[in-house]
């Protein structure tokens, strides 16, 4: 397993947010984290990133507790894609992606031509190399998100942790980012991502972990876990999961919220 939680209690020093989470992500696999607002998805992600220490249990990267890796060792094994990045400084896309290479350098060394080439290759892989010299703030939200994924690729880490990577995007860009995540999985990456939209889990996830009220509500293969009953309980609204015909040949399942409270 690339990334795993075993009986993990997570939260802050003075406040437990969730208890007893078990999950595991292996190479070539996408695991999706679902939960309502305030369920602690982001806190769990930050714990799995090694930013917050586990309160009990273990958060493991390649079998070793996250806290036991040095910052640089961890950075070359586990890459992070945030919802958005907060800076008013005008980095170009290429410069932003090149920061992913700092995992491979010491504090006093400087990026070279190889780092630049690796950053550019990551942009090419996500199909946005033509934007390499555009300022990060002047491209679309979807392109920004793809650049953040490219930065994660530039670290060459085999495991990707994404915190609601689609939540600031419009419909079309969401689809584009999800496609790219699926493509990374097909190339062998281990991906754990959180989202507000269960359709995204249906679309690309192999397995799903649902968290609610400070604990795991359900976990398992997407087809088994993402159903009307679980989603209704998870979000406190009646949700139907319906089959629709799709242009891709095979019918797909989608979530449809219906009015009223769950029965």
């Amino acid at each position: 397993m690339k990334l795993a939680a075993r009986g993990l209690d997570y939260g802050f020093r003075d406040r437990v947010v969730g208890r007893g989470v078990d999950l595991a992500v292996g190479a070539g696999e996408i695991v999706c984290l679902l939960g309502p607002n305030g369920s602690g998805k982001s806190t769990l992600v930050r714990t799995l990133l090694g930013v917050l220490p586990p309160l009990a249990g273990a958060a493991l990267l390649e079998g070793k507790p996250l806290g036991a890796w040095s910052g640089r060792e961890r950075a070359t094994r586990l890459a992070y894609v945030p919802q958005a990045t907060a800076t008013d400084l005008d980095f170009t896309l290429l410069e932003m992606v090149e920061m992913g290479r700092s995992a491979h350098r010491g504090a006093f060394s400087h990026p070279g031509a190889r780092d630049r080439a690796a950053a550019f290759a990551a942009l090419e892989r996500l199909g946005i190399a033509a934007l390499a010299e555009r300022p990060f703030h002047r491209v679309s939200g979807g392109e920004r998100q793809l650049a953040l994924i490219a930065r994660a690729l530039a670290t060459e880490a085999p495991c990707l942790l994404m915190d609601e990577p689609t939540s600031n995007l419009d419909f079309g860009n969401q689809a584009r980012v999800l496609e790219e995540i699926a493509r990374l999985r097909d190339a062998g990456a281990a991906v754990l991502f959180s989202t507000h939209d269960p359709d995204h889990a249906l679309r690309i996830a192999d397995r799903v972990v649902m968290i609610r009220n400070g604990g795991t509500m359900a976990a398992g293969a997407t087809a088994e876990v993402v159903n009307s009953e679980n989603l209704s309980a998870l979000y406190g609204r009646a949700v139907e999961v319906a089959w629709v015909a799709s242009g891709e040949g095979t019918p797909r399942r989608v979530c449809v919220p219906s009015s009223g409270r769950p029965s």
Binding site: L49, A107, A129
Partner: protein, 342 residues
């Protein structure tokens, strides 16, 4: 298929070379400017004579160049460079191009220290030492407050603590002015608050160079790392950065450089805000380019401003006043240009 964009290095090297050459020319020209006429050729001869211990250009001219103008130009060079370099570092730390190096209260701390030293009738070296200590004390207080209360949003807490401490020390300065003797001490304090390069001796400069170098050199060594602070804390940590250590380093080294600069020449605003902004427009956002270019541009800007201040009018104008008169409109223009660009 998109092609890899050309490396920014040659263009950056060109900017550095051009601004370095302009800086050298500016500094040399500044030595010729003043009430006692000395030609450019004589300036070179005087400098060469000082280096080789050979015969010079006559006692008076030699003294004007080496004892009066050269220390002053040198002070303007290092103060401009230090304030601009520190400004670039603080702008990277706070992820915001509108931040100045005194955001953590270093200037008001320095000013209070200097004011207190004037009240105590200390000599200039004492004023500088008190100014430096006051600046460090103010920033130390800011950091201590932020460490106590700012677990959730450390950067915002730092800024707010800086505002509070800055205004507290400002009240202290007002008190010092209130109790100062209005005929001798008050003018000295006001003079210092507005900044000045007159009366800087080579010895003062030598002493201040130590903390200044202790600030600037580590920032230069860390120049490729500082950009990670522009990201969120989680992102920077995920890329292998020791965020707290790096932040502490930028605060400590930026403060050392700023406090040393303020101790030499008083509180001169705008330079540390304006110059890194200009450097960024020329060289892009990465700190590894903004920082060295800010040092050179800041040195040049400060020399140009001080030369104008001491020669444009019959009476010398304080450089802090001039930087504000130049800085405010230029900054508004820069801001408008930045916002208007597609």
């Amino acid at each position: 298929m998109a092609r890899m964009p050309p490396s920014p290095r040659p263009r950056f090297a060109l900017w550095m070379a051009a601004s370095g050459a302009a800086l050298a020319a500016l500094a040399a020209w500044s030595l010729t400017v003043g009430r006692y006429p000395v030609g450019a050729a004589d300036v070179f001869r005087a400098l060469a004579a000082a280096l080789t211990q050979a015969g010079g250009i006559g006692d008076n001219a030699q003294a004007v160049i080496l004892d009066v103008r050269a220390p002053r130009v040198a002070a303007a060079l290092v103060v401009g460079a230090a304030l601009s370099g520190a400004g670039a570092a603080f702008q990277a730390l706070f992820r915001n191009p509108l931040v100045s190096p005194d955001i953590l209260g270093v200037s008001s701390g320095c000013a209070l220290g200097a004011g207190a030293a004037v009240l105590l009738a200390l000599p200039l070296a004492g004023v500088q030492a008190f100014a430096f200590a006051g600046g460090l004390a103010a920033v130390g207080l800011v950091v201590a407050i932020a460490a106590r209360v700012g677990e959730r949003d450390p950067l915002l807490t730092l800024i707010l603590a800086g505002v509070v401490v800055g205004s507290l020390f400002g009240a202290g300065i007002a008190l010092v002015k209130f109790v100062a003797d209005p005929y001798n001490q008050l003018p000295a304090i006001t003079f210092w608050l507005l900044g000045s390069f007159s009366g800087v001796s080579p010895a003062d400069l030598g002493v201040a160079l130590v903390p200044l170098a202790l600030g600037i050199v580590p920032l230069w060594l860390l120049r490729s790392r500082v950009d990670l602070l522009a990201l969120s804390e989680d992102e920077a940590a995920s890329l292998g950065a020791n965020v707290r250590g790096l932040r502490a380093a930028v605060i400590v080294f930026g403060t050392l450089a700023t406090a040393a600069a303020v101790a030499i020449a008083g509180t001169i605003g705008w330079v540390g805000l304006l110059v890194p902004h200009a450097a960024r427009m020329l060289a892009g956002a990465p700190f590894a380019r903004v920082f060295p270019l800010s040092l050179v541009l800041g040195a040049g800007f400060m020399v140009a401003v001080d030369t104008a201040c001491r020669s444009a009018f019959a009476v010398e104008i304080p450089p802090g006043v001039a930087t504000a008169f130049v800085g405010a409109p230029v900054f508004i223009a820069l801001l408008a240009a930045t916002r208007r660009a597609p």
